[in-house]
Symmetry: C2
Amino acid sequence: MTSATRSNSTTFNGFEPTPESIPPPYNELRLKLPSNLPVNYHPLNPLEFLLRAALIYPNKLAVVHPDVKTPAFYTYSVWSRAQRVQNLGYALVKAGLKPGDRIAVIAPNVPMMADVLQGALAARVILTAINTRLTPQEVTYILEHSGSKLILIDSEYLRLIEGTRIPFVVSNDTGNSGDPYERFLSEGRQFSGEKGWSGLEMEADENAPAMLCYTSNGSKGVLTTLRGTYLAALANAFEGQMNANSTYLWILPMFHAAGWTFPWANTFSFTTQITMRSVDYPLIWKHFLHSRVTHYCGAPTVQIGIVNDPAAKHPPQQIRAYIAGAAPTAHLIGSLEKIGIEPIHVYGLTEAGTYGPFTRNYPQESWSSLSLEERSKLIARQGHPFVTAGGMRVVYRAEESPDPNGELVDVPKDGKTMGEIVTRGNIVMKEYFDDVEATKKAFRGGYFGSGDLAVMHPDGSASILDRSKDIIISGGENASSLAIEQELASHPHILEVSVVAREHKKWGERPMAFVTLHPQHASKWKGRHGDFARDLKAHAKERLPGFACPEWVEIVPELPKTSTGKILKAQLRKVVAKL
Amino acid sequence: MTSATRSNSTTFNGFEPTPESIPPPYNELRLKLPSNLPVNYHPLNPLEFLLRAALIYPNKLAVVHPDVKTPAFYTYSVWSRAQRVQNLGYALVKAGLKPGDRIAVIAPNVPMMADVLQGALAARVILTAINTRLTPQEVTYILEHSGSKLILIDSEYLRLIEGTRIPFVVSNDTGNSGDPYERFLSEGRQFSGEKGWSGLEMEADENAPAMLCYTSNGSKGVLTTLRGTYLAALANAFEGQMNANSTYLWILPMFHAAGWTFPWANTFSFTTQITMRSVDYPLIWKHFLHSRVTHYCGAPTVQIGIVNDPAAKHPPQQIRAYIAGAAPTAHLIGSLEKIGIEPIHVYGLTEAGTYGPFTRNYPQESWSSLSLEERSKLIARQGHPFVTAGGMRVVYRAEESPDPNGELVDVPKDGKTMGEIVTRGNIVMKEYFDDVEATKKAFRGGYFGSGDLAVMHPDGSASILDRSKDIIISGGENASSLAIEQELASHPHILEVSVVAREHKKWGERPMAFVTLHPQHASKWKGRHGDFARDLKAHAKERLPGFACPEWVEIVPELPKTSTGKILKAQLRKVVAKL
């Protein structure tokens, strides 16, 4: 692909874009300016990153979809100079959608998904990207709650919308003229009358809604803004030093919190994006080793799958991995670094308030002299807010607040006192869609309450101890399930571990650990689970206070996870409840 | 300095900051939030880059001033965690200044200058940094026009304000407790009552004024905004890939268009800034070779001085040079690249409308196969707008506009048709201070008219041909003095060249070239200026159309320049007028 990336044509590896995807000469890459904008004010709009990339690097590959029957290779010129995203914008307008209307997309990481994350902004409609792992009932709820007027759907997921009355457009993910989605785009091109980008008006209000992202359980819709998306994307690109020489591999689903704003971090920094329909480790390694991938995102569990794949070895180029969803363990950090992958630990409320990453762990020069284990404890901290975030504090929870008026009060910076992480600023959501009460509750005290319990260290960085609901109250002590997991994970035979509270007659609650074993070591403990439990408890005793040591250890073949690889503690709790 | 940069103390090389510069423990790095800000809105404010740098990298050197009798070394902690910038903010408040009031600074690149570019924002006063090369009369005009209520002045320049009735604070540039400027800071600390940053209120309006930069001739004051400065600084940092490992050398005067917003590009990216009182080439090379400098800014003439210094050699680290003020010649680009300095050609209206750089020449992969001369012609283009700029067009000048209603009309993208560069967006000035008429004129048609004449290439990049007033009308043809200079500069014996119009009986005007010779070659032409003129004309004839060839060539010992190294064509025109 490397040589193709540098080519000067719209044809790659024999792939021909549809005729309607070919831009006309001299197409202006400028949206129609709203009238009465001050000369020195331009509304921040992440769509403009794309237009600019098409202006400056038209022949660079923008979106590559290589691992399907009919692979597709779109340059910035084809993708955006005029055509595919613009065609989609016009197609949505032709479909009768007005600014502020909602549409939905149900698809894995495919070009249509990449298109619509940009094209929705072109038509000024609000996009809700629906998790493909939800049930038809959950999908129906989201479609209804969002009031979606159109669905773009990958043919693999048609069963999720069976019987729907909402109009939909199917993509067979072929890129061929016969594909219904391609016909939809072609109609957009025709409808445009070749007015190009300047036939689509720029949104004058940078605080207008951009995306509508539903939380994991689908109950709340998080509304983001153009300004927030612009500033979050820019910070993501900056933190990973993404630039025109970068190649981004889509491992994280784009439907997950709008891909943590990486669709726009990529266009901001002129990268090439590679899409894959599923998280397929051998395929990931093919791209790491042969497609010059430089950046990707993933939760720790996905990262563990990557480093443990048999194909894993030091790639020829520098790769940076954004890790979020949970703190990476020392073992994971060591495994990534051993093969030359630089971990960037970021933290955000991916589905409940912000735009993906909000803080970053900023490595310090002085850490280089520490052992991996010591260093990993520092890297596991959630760190400091992004430059374009407004601020983060750790404050006493309402029930513990020393302020009688309910004002937020910072906990001391002692690395010990537990409080709640609260955030505000440009990359906090605008509101919960159509839910004034929930929004008001979430914004109590002028900050968004994350529900994450944390301490503030003397250096002003925060460490999450737990989600409120995950804390284990053992003998009156607060035990952080995350801190316990962090220590148990340092046992060399453990692949993954999750700790939840289990009722205990004497102590109220005690920790119970569910673990999966590393394939290399699993055979050693076959039929000897009791011995392993003893071994792990001894390991824990050396590292944790008594109240935090697991009372029970269970070896399981795998842990229950969300589509993005987050461990589902709720399911483990259900298991525990039946014990 | 390298090891010092990594140290963990506030003392470097024996330098002790004043007691009032030492921060207290646990000082919050948060300005007081204005009430009623929406939870998801945080006003963009470049001052916050500094507070964030102090939070994340308190022990990193922020401002280093090594080449004076009493060298100074300030960490981010000392510079900003609490103290120096914060003290200055309080000192300004104590001096009775209110938000929106103006103050002036007259100083070379010294720590006081670095302080006040941040500290003015802390007190929400508007800073006008005055060019130290102006006459006392010009300085008086600016002080009066701006209504400055306080002056911070380096003792070397006291003669510029002799007899002023405006209160002033003198700095002897010592950093010692006895220095009047240091006493001023100390009073600020006392006045603060240790309320820290949270005793200073954040500006709620991101469109509030930030800096007041007077044009070269001092006649107009360009007012910038917080939002514009934030976005311009961020783009500057991004374009040069500045980061926490970078060291920025202050060669460009900070008083020049607020240092092209690099004071904030530096704090945004956590760099170490080195200040020097004057442009001293041996000193520059000392720092290039021994202080790990990675970035600097300068006009081509300054860059020529750098590459021609006897100490010039390939530094051990990668250096990136932002070049603006005029396009770099092939010879300069070649000379920089030979010693491993990467030129970043940017363009902005440094004193007449924007915030320093506004566009950048974006190198293309395909250029690598071209000859230096061909490549240099492409690098000499002003290129495409920065990501945070709103847009740039090349439009027909009013007198040539095909639109009867005076609407701006783009010239064709043919690389030939000349028009005027117009810009709009977030990094265009707010207004000319106290000059409604001039602002209105500059903003005609909803864009800022730059006065720079240019063509638009098919790839959407612009090339400046000339300032309106520098164009040479020879036999009815428009000859670009810049294009002529670019070609003449390829003569191997020429160090610098400037071309202006001279009256001609037959052709109306013809080009006259003023040149300085490269020291290596000057002796060859001693006493043979006529031969050199013939040689240069022959060189020109091979490269330029007849009407653009210089009719006259004059060798001069040096060219007249502004303080920032821009050649003063106005002075050459005066010489010509007397011929």
